[in-house]
Assembly symmetry: C2
Homo-oligomer: 359 residues x 2
Amino acid sequence: MMTVYNFAAGPATLPDEVIQQIQTELPSLQGSGMSILEISHRSAMFDEIINTAQQDLRDLMAIPDDYEVLFFQGGGTGQFAAVPLNLATTHHRIALLDSGHWAAKAGDEATKLGVTVDTLATTKGTHYDKLPALTMTLPADTYDYMHICTNNTIEGTAYHALPKTSGVPLVGDMSSNIMAQRYNVSDFDLIFAGVQKNLGPAGVTIVIVKKSLIKEVDHIPSVFDYSLFAKKNSMPNTPPVFNIYATGLTLKWLKSIGGIDEIERRNQKKASLLYDFLDHSKVFNNPVKPADRSLTNVPFMTGDAKLDDAAVADLTDHGLMNLKGHRSVGGLRASLYNAMPFEGVQALVNELYHFEKNL
Amino acid sequence: MMTVYNFAAGPATLPDEVIQQIQTELPSLQGSGMSILEISHRSAMFDEIINTAQQDLRDLMAIPDDYEVLFFQGGGTGQFAAVPLNLATTHHRIALLDSGHWAAKAGDEATKLGVTVDTLATTKGTHYDKLPALTMTLPADTYDYMHICTNNTIEGTAYHALPKTSGVPLVGDMSSNIMAQRYNVSDFDLIFAGVQKNLGPAGVTIVIVKKSLIKEVDHIPSVFDYSLFAKKNSMPNTPPVFNIYATGLTLKWLKSIGGIDEIERRNQKKASLLYDFLDHSKVFNNPVKPADRSLTNVPFMTGDAKLDDAAVADLTDHGLMNLKGHRSVGGLRASLYNAMPFEGVQALVNELYHFEKNL
């Protein structure tokens, strides 16, 4: 049987060890005779699971004690609403750095909910080939927060240094590079991330938020209410039990291999291999400014849509899956999340090399 | 090894066949080399999964073509917000029949979001020992809808006949008895249900809504937007892929055993066995008016909290799990959802009989 590598942008590949553990213990969790798919969220077993997942998140990301770690449903798109509903309650105005599709979507959702959104910088004019540069000093008493997307899944850029916000709270959508590289949590006031790229199966969203920002808010749906979730250990209602469990196993896996520092080293190595190939290729090109390149998402193209399609077809034939680029960018895209092994990227680069040679 | 039966109120027991199938195909879905935990929601494989689940829901519940079948995250509590946000847009006023904890919670959430809630009948005064009777005719041009909870998980009542709404749209929270008994979908204008009691692992909420009620609404979070979800086949953003897949398998299982008519017959038989025992017991009592008794949730008690605890402990020793009653009611509670086999209820009744005899 051919080894298959899954380069999907998310939901994405998970560690084999995690899938094997889930499979092994699926019929009976900890000898209980009950499946993780059946246990009550009010059980001692699940309390242990959710508390361990929170603690492992704290350990891995070095989350300070003055931050809450919460689990929601609804994905990043849910948080596009929840963040302004919880935080944009003083000025009803936020700042945005428009680094691509998902940053713009976050702005659109805040606008839809009645918040004023000031886009302070954008690289839309150059198809988001680099990060927008914030050249102004943020004015005092104007913004409830500034939103950035730390990694742009579609465009293939990532913040390796953060913009200065002059005391305005910084909100980071880390959905596609949470724990793929080291960030200093205390540089942010709020971080959110769907787990389905680096940390688990789709259906859980992690929110890490400074306790001092959490307050009781009127007219907010309960499933978005940070204050309520903080009080109820993320369980004012039934949480996605299985998804939190599977995420917890992935966190344990990440700890076992050496945590974020080690995975960042591996991710650097994987990304370098691919970028080096692309930078030396006569056919394929990555359009992103080198300093802003993402470790986790690498778009590339030939400039000829038919040739791009032929490359995707050839890669698919060799078990290198889901490499078609996002429709807004075209070409190809390789997502190299935490669970993608180095061997997968080697196989990709080898086959791209052969494809190019045989043209 | 002792056979374990899980009487939890939810998340709840699933069919063994479903858990076995998930376990078998976990490492590689349909020979793809990828786990269901890893596949993209934009893949042809997942399109087939979500479309099949929708069709099986339509087949099982005989859902007319003028209803949409949608999948959300956020549970019933999410829909407590989503329903008024989508539907309470003309009168900003809804009617409620207060049949217990979860009906009242739905009203509280609507109130929190600025909707006026008229509780037209309640049985709170008698600890929700029966359903509230709607004795008035609903006035025209007053209410956007009337909300009922078709089965009251905590109190153990269920609607076997529906109240007359005089043309006011009827919304049913069916979270704890969806597909456990036959309802006529066209008697409702909207039905919602978390899957975690009768249909799958926690993390998906089904919404069945009359197309004519769906409209574009301002200021609504996207993850609650019926119009958007209808347009995007429930995938404006990443859905909970695994949870929808597992729900789909449970729907197939239900079809394979004969659908709702057969499961209702089995559920009647299971519930009768337990109610008959309780009605003849000199120690245990079910406080609910017989005509309003739930098929899926049966609270019972001795009137002595210590004796209740002793019964729970004895049952637990015999592999009969999660029978402690809800704190607001006390005593014991047996949840007899679709996947609870008759043998489980036999084992429960046998042990209750022995417990009583040995007092």
